[in-house]
Symmetry: C2
Subunit: 406 residues, 2 copies
């Protein structure tokens, strides 16, 4: 696998664009379009929140179709809690793009991110569609990545190349965060994490869905910025087959290679989200090992990743590891506290449930002064493991989120 400079338009046959429709008060780009020159197999994972935004409901309906060609995205407005008006507006977005690109609306997917409970300025979107479609280009992948941003401070995109039976297959992706980030998405059932992945791989819709499920489970579904699950989280993948590899139809070695690469792309994008988390000054990786099941390992890692107290401690570079212990214990997972080890980097702080006497506090502090902080919890009751990622909790987070809608 080779990492290459690029994003959603790096795989063959994908075009993108991003324009200013005037949805955002800031006047920044807020409408984006991704387009495949040929019909693509599509899979998507959506938020499990009971309050699903209208674009999520429309995309959940459309994803059941056979082939897809385009994804339209607006930032600055989540189009959530707007009832039937919101549903109609989201559907209208797919119709506008469909009409302009001569596609059936069901070939178009849609995503939104921004404030909840404000009606979408559909007139502004309608006016911007000609420019949006006109700008479609292989060169505009980065413009797409910029137009989907909300509180993000940097665009997030990535591409990789792999060989499947001597054929080069490319996967590209872009995503945005960076508040209300604690996704738990499911494919075809269910941020505002928005993530868009493209590939020129030939792969059936069924295997693409399976692959996306595996990839999101270990990447986007393992990150937290603030522990708040969004109504709009969506992760899309389009596979248009233009690489002309032998089509992936089952769980063979090509599937495994493809899924490994997809996991890599999804994990790197997920980690970029956390690094750019609202107010973040630190990146925290939490590894849980020795669990009875992967679900248990994930539950413990995810619980620790949402501990406000731990995140404040990391912000203050205070190696107050007792907060890791308290968070692990409140995960609802059954384990023997008298077996548990906790490490800060390579430094053991807790051994068999007991505070390590003579723990070098200066060394511990030094580990917490770094940009990246590594925490490991070994439950020692099984063989399963998981890794979660989060950022620290700073005064800046509070500042950003106390002034959002006003």
């Amino acid at each position: 696998m080779n990492i290459i400079k690029g994003g959603v338009t790096t795989p063959k046959g994908f075009l993108a664009s991003g324009v200013k429709a005037g949805i955002k008060k800031s006047g920044r780009a807020d409408l984006a379009l991704l387009y495949s020159e040929v019909p693509a197999a599509a899979a998507a994972a959506f938020t499990t929140n009971r309050f699903k935004a209208s674009p999520v409901k429309v995309s959940m309906a459309h994803i059941n179709g056979k082939d897809h060609r385009a994804i339209v995205v607006n930032s600055g407005n989540a189009n959530c809690a707007n009832g039937k008006i919101g549903d109609r507006d989201a559907m209208k977005m797919t119709e506008l793009i469909g009409k302009s690109l001569l596609l059936d609306k069901r070939e178009v997917l849609v995503a939104s991110t921004g404030i909840i409970g404000v009606y979408l300025p559909l007139g502004k979107i309608e006016k911007a569609v000609p420019e949006l479609v006109g700008e479609l280009s292989e060169a505009k992948g980065t413009r797409f990545a910029e137009a989907i941003m909300t509180t993000d401070t940097v665009k997030k995109e990535l591409a990789v190349k792999i060989k499947l039976d001597k054929v080069t297959v490319t996967i590209g992706g872009a995503c945005k965060g960076v508040g209300m980030i604690y996704p738990l998405m499911k494919t075809q059932r269910h941020a505002t994490m928005l993530s868009f992945i493209t590939t020129d791989a030939a792969i059936t819709k069924r295997m693409l869905t399976a692959s996306l499920d595996e990839a999101t489970g270990d990447s986007f579904n393992m990150i937290s910025v603030d522990g708040d699950m969004s109504t709009n989280d969506s992760c899309f993948i389009l596979a248009n087959g233009l690489a002309k590899n032998r089509e992936i139809k089952g769980y063979g070695s090509d599937y495994r290679k493809f899924t490994a690469a997809l996991k890599f792309v999804a994990s790197e994008l997920a980690k970029e989200l956390v690094r750019d988390g609202e107010g973040a000054t630190k990146f925290i990786e939490i590894s849980v090992t020795g669990a009875k099941s992967e679900l248990d390992a994930k539950a413990v890692a995810r619980k620790i990743s949402t501990s406000n107290l731990l995140k404040c401690a990391v912000c203050g570079e205070d190696p107050n590891w007792g907060r890791i212990v308290a968070a692990a214990g409140s995960s609802g997972v059954d384990f023997d506290p008298n077996k548990v080890d906790v490490y800060l980097g390579n430094l053991k702080a807790l051994s068999n449930g007991m505070s390590v006497k003579g723990l070098d506090k200066n060394k511990a502090h030094k580990l917490f002064t770094k940009r990246d902080v590594y925490i490991k919890v070994d439950l020692k009751t099984g063989r399963d493991k998981a890794t979660a990622w989060t950022c620290d909790f700073s005064k800046e987070y509070v500042a950003i989120n106390s002034e959002y809608s006003t």
Copy 2:
């Protein structure tokens, strides 16, 4: 029911004290003792965290005994994650008090609050015991309430009087918070919320336990400061019978009157905790109505009470109610989003899942400028309800918790 000035020593036959043992670096009082002149029925609710602090384990063992006489409490050190040494130290605290007061150690309960993973300075405690016991007095209820404080800025105590069959019965209480506050306690099975309630009521241990269960379920178990569950949360009640009322032996009218008064005391103390939550500038009450079950109502209310985004919005006096919707939808509770109403005070913001057009933004903002903010979510799918309490999330919270152990 009459609310009276007082605390844990207001009911007949209770003495208390608080001294400086030198556990806290600040030099403030950090060792407290509560004592009943006659044997008392005791009940307690403890944290459901898998990592239970040593004092919790010792009190869980001792609470199974018939009668109890004393509770010893230290602040400044949680005595958690200290393994067998911690267990031995917590037991030793009960032995030291037992020896000094001529009690069996099993008649003594114990609680600790403070940093996790630091061994208890037992020598300092041992040295302070004679003074602690010597100071026991009816006049020292407030001293007790002060000595149990950690990041609390005010002591929290309360007393009420009720009549049971013409006999006056008194209930008094004291508690402390105010970080790592998201208790979920169970009686006899399982903050650092510490709460101590005394009463001179005559009531059997079985009915006292039932009454405490009802009271904690609607009070301490419905508050959140930061969503972090402690390893040390404990709520104790001692009932010494000195009021000479007809002993409460079953679920009759005396039980109901007593439980109503106990719920009141527990709720008021719980609300005081939230008002004094770390960095808090606002008090938030979240009422959920129309749920299919009380459990559902509690789950939705509790989930909303832990939304960092909502808490930041309240801090900034920004009526960004979409964050309430997102939090409700991530509670895991099954409801129809198209039926839900959301109110800010008496102002309807969401009606049948739809953003209310023409919502008066100035009125909404004004409601959020008050010290107390009221939020109501009506699920309209049943008849059950629940209320949770939380505080806002301020930069001061981050400041307090990024500098705790260093």
